[in-house]
Symmetry: C2
Subunit: 379 residues, 2 copies
């Protein structure tokens, strides 16, 4: 095995593939990067058994400056190899390994590293996904769907199914839902392609890693689903994720259809006020802030309190307060995350009763994104 390559090109692809490589795995070979050198391309693979990422660097792209002298394959210790290649002195580097030896030499300028690799054939096989049918999604939309739903997945392993995002494809509509049973986020998109129905749960962690890989240069992502795996393909990369086993709870009837009180806020201003109020609530045993809406007086007041430290009271700026007066207490951290999910927009918050979940929707598009927060009983 011998090749020379542009170091930045290699590092970029290595960083992508490294997202799937964990130093904590119980399977030693998975702490390695699998490197396959073909006559015209390199194939880098990383996996933690849940997520596997395979990415190709082609000699056809001149920016890669890839020159393969001798094909071959090896597994290199990923963390260590990554630290080496980041610190090499020149803009290109050469990797070589001879015959049956597992020693790989990395040279760049006057610097020469020799590191011990593992036999490439010991690396686990990647899943094979034979699904003929695929679904193409614009990368920016997929990125948004991920960002807007993973925020509500559970981080507790007591109900593993809730650590994933539930995706349903039906009637040319994709519905993504996540809930940790205290809050819920639901995003809908209309599909251009006509695709067959599907129903699966992807681990939130997989979606987080996938989301981080969808930079501005990625335009379209192709999605294929198998029995217990999903494959996202884009550019030179294949991203595999295990799916979660089990039935996702029925969330379709959780979102209230009617409201007794509605109000609109600028999300960034409300977020800043919630951040201030939570300074106090974080100091108290029950992390709760209180919102008081008075329709006749047209006031919205947010309260935070900690018996030891002090309290805060803030008059919120709002529009369109309608319906009945309400006093409601909730965990400000759920509200923070929900507001980060909507970004710069104006949001409508709709309440039914002090102890019933309330909804947040973007004012300009009620239909496609809704978040639900369960209030806290304080008496």
């Amino acid at each position: 095995m011998k090749f020379t390559i542009n170091r930045n090109s290699f590092i970029r692809t290595f960083n992508d593939v490294s997202r799937a490589i964990s130093t904590k795995t119980t399977i030693p070979v998975l702490t390695g990067l699998k490197l396959v050198v073909e006559s015209n391309a390199l194939i880098l693979t990383g996996s933690d058994a849940d997520i596997s990422i395979e990415s190709t660097i082609s000699a056809d792209d001149e920016d890669n400056e890839l020159v393969v002298t001798e094909p071959g394959a090896i597994i290199l210790p990923a963390k260590f190899f990554g630290e080496i290649i980041k610190r090499l002195p020149e803009s290109t580097m050469t990797l070589s390994q001879s015959g049956d030896s597992l020693q790989t030499t990395i040279t760049s300028g006057a610097s020469e590293f020799t590191i011990n690799g593992l036999e490439a054939s010991t690396y686990p096989q990647l899943p094979t996904i034979t699904a003929a049918q695929s679904l193409n999604l614009p990368a920016d939309i997929l990125h948004q769907v991920i960002a807007q739903t993973v925020i509500a997945v559970s981080t507790e392993e007591s109900r593993p199914i809730l650590t994933g995002v539930h995706v349903t494809i039906k009637d040319n509509q994709l519905l993504a839902v996540a809930t940790d049973s205290h809050r819920l986020a639901q995003r809908k998109i209309e599909l251009d392609d006509s695709v067959s129905d599907a129903d699966f749960v992807i681990p939130g962690r997989s979606l987080n890693e996938l989301g981080r890989m969808l930079g501005d240069d990625v335009k379209t992502v192709e999605l294929r689903i198998a029995e217990n795996q999903v494959l996202f393909s884009f550019d030179h990369t294949a991203f595999f994720s295990r799916l979660l086993d089990g039935n996702y709870p029925d969330t379709s009837r959780l979102i209230p259809k009617t409201a007794n009180t509605t109000i609109e806020f600028e999300a960034p201003a409300l977020l800043a006020a919630i951040n201030r109020a939570s300074l106090l609530s974080h100091e108290s045993r029950n992390n709760v802030v209180r919102l008081s809406l008075k329709v006749d007086e047209q006031t919205a007041t947010l309260f935070g309190n900690s018996p030891e430290v002090g309290n805060v009271e803030e008059q919120l700026t709002f529009t369109n307060l309608q319906g009945e007066d309400i006093e409601i207490s909730f965990n400000p951290d759920y509200m923070k995350v929900a507001l980060q999910g909507v970004g710069q927009s104006t949001i409508e918050v709709a309440f039914t009763a002090p102890l019933r979940p309330f909804t947040l929707v973007p004012s300009e598009d009620h239909e496609h994104y809704v978040q639900l927060i369960t209030p806290v009983r304080t008496f």
Copy 2:
């Protein structure tokens, strides 16, 4: 007590004073910020008993937008108060407190916090330094002296005196020395002022905090020394530090006067090579790299090795290699810190024997800065 102030001006001064405030102190009142409101100025004080910082915000500076309505004094919980003032909505804020109440109200825009303070009179007295004589130092020189010496102080409490920097003023020359017994850094400056002799040891931690406060806007620092305290005064700030008790070891004869081998490197290039070699040495039990200098062949080679992971060999770029061949092993982390201490310059490294300390000095100024590193026996 009541005043209104520009929030950024206050935060800047608060951040400076906060350097002395620890949340880990065993003296509860020291977790607080002491705030004294005079008719024309605020005085903020923070202390952890070792370091005390007092800083003044004057109404004379219009940028401060300080308007005092009622003088007074209070101690506020520093960490918590800091988080509040950073998150307030408007560019100004008002603090008020009435009569004997310890409750302090902070208002900014529509946001109103009420927090519990402590009685100002319970705050410890700051040291009084009556020394008539003072020494004025340019802030940039003092900053350099600090940066170049604190890197060699000991972090181990087994010999407390070595956690400080030893400062000697004699014959209008200031000498600052630090050593942790594995390496040493010594910086000399000639003084313009004629000052009396002095000899004291300042905790490295105090100097680190002082160094961080000496931004580009500080021009001159006035230094006054008392029995067991030193006071650095600049701009609107008084920085007090406790001095260390005990006799600092005599370091004057540690620095070799002659050398058998000398070589010059560009510090940044050598640093990059050391960083690469240390990748391997960090993986091995004894964290050591080896430097081999061959005068006839005019080669300088750096080796790093880890039996499990692999090895690295690098031909170094150098100038002026003279004297005898030498092979020497040392801890690369000491060399890294030493090279960071000299910045962009060319350095001369001088060796006497494989097991004797070697020196690093800037090539263009041998006189004023010298670092010493003790090699490691590897056989």
